[in-house]
Amino acid sequence: MTNASSDRPQPLSPNIQIYRPQLTSVLSIANRIAGVALTAYAVGLVIWLVAAAAGPEAYATVHAFIRSSVGQVLLFGCTFCFFLHLCGGIRHLAWDAGYGFSLHAIYASGWTVVAASIALTVLTWAIAIVMLGLSR
């Protein structure tokens, strides 16, 4: 069966590359990327614990890396990924419980996740830096 529409190019199936990024979609993939990154950081937590259990020399090596500039940047990234996944996860749990599905609520909670993740990351590092300064 031929008709006029079959000669025209048909619309492609939903394809992520042609969609304009939106807060909803960006936070969705960011939550997943943060989760994967946090698993990598969890490997770091185990290395840190095993080194601490192994003795002062092993711990000193790991501690020196954490205190290096690369280590501190990674730790800052870990803090942000943690708060992003924590806030995004709480948003998901609210959805799972049946709350916050209106378009307004979805954008309000989305921007709250962005603002809270940045604020909590900065606050955590500010407290840590102040406490390190006080103990010196």
């Binding site: 997943r32 614990l49 709480i90």
Partner: protein
């Protein structure tokens, strides 16, 4: 065609998997997420407090019963939640022959990491 139409709704749904195991995977991901909220906040706050500890100070904190218990619970919830999350990521994006070995390796890796972390925590807890 007629075969599909004559089968009962239950007969069509049975054995398809997702209606059976999917709910449990989804539910356990949420349960572990709820557990991780207080555990990870405790861990982050503790690391901030103990950021300047020397090795004996850190070991003294890690060796307290409360720290050992919470750290063990954290490691269990963390790697359980990681395994469930990474499983979905692999299932969504990996469609080649390495999918199955990747899933098996990931699950075994998460289990091994949790065991290593817990044993290190216990070793510190009981002293050397």
């Amino acid at each position: 065609m007629s075969m599909a139409r004559t089968r009962s709704p239950l007969g069509r749904a049975l054995g398809l998997g997702s209606a059976k195991d999917g709910v449990e995977h989804w539910w356990l991901e949420r349960v572990s997420a709820v557990a991780l909220v207080p555990l990870t906040v405790w861990f982050t706050a503790s690391i901030v407090v103990h950021a300047d500890d020397n090795y004996p100070g850190l070991m003294a904190w890690l060796a307290t019963p409360l720290t050992s218990i919470l750290m063990t619970l954290l490691l269990i919830a963390l790697f359980y939640h990681s395994a469930l999350g990474l499983q979905v990521v692999i299932e969504d994006y990996v469609h080649s022959r390495i999918k199955l070995p990747l899933l098996v390796g990931m699950h075994l890796g998460c289990f091994a990491l949790a065991v290593a972390g817990i044993l290190a925590t216990l070793k510190i807890a009981v002293g050397t």
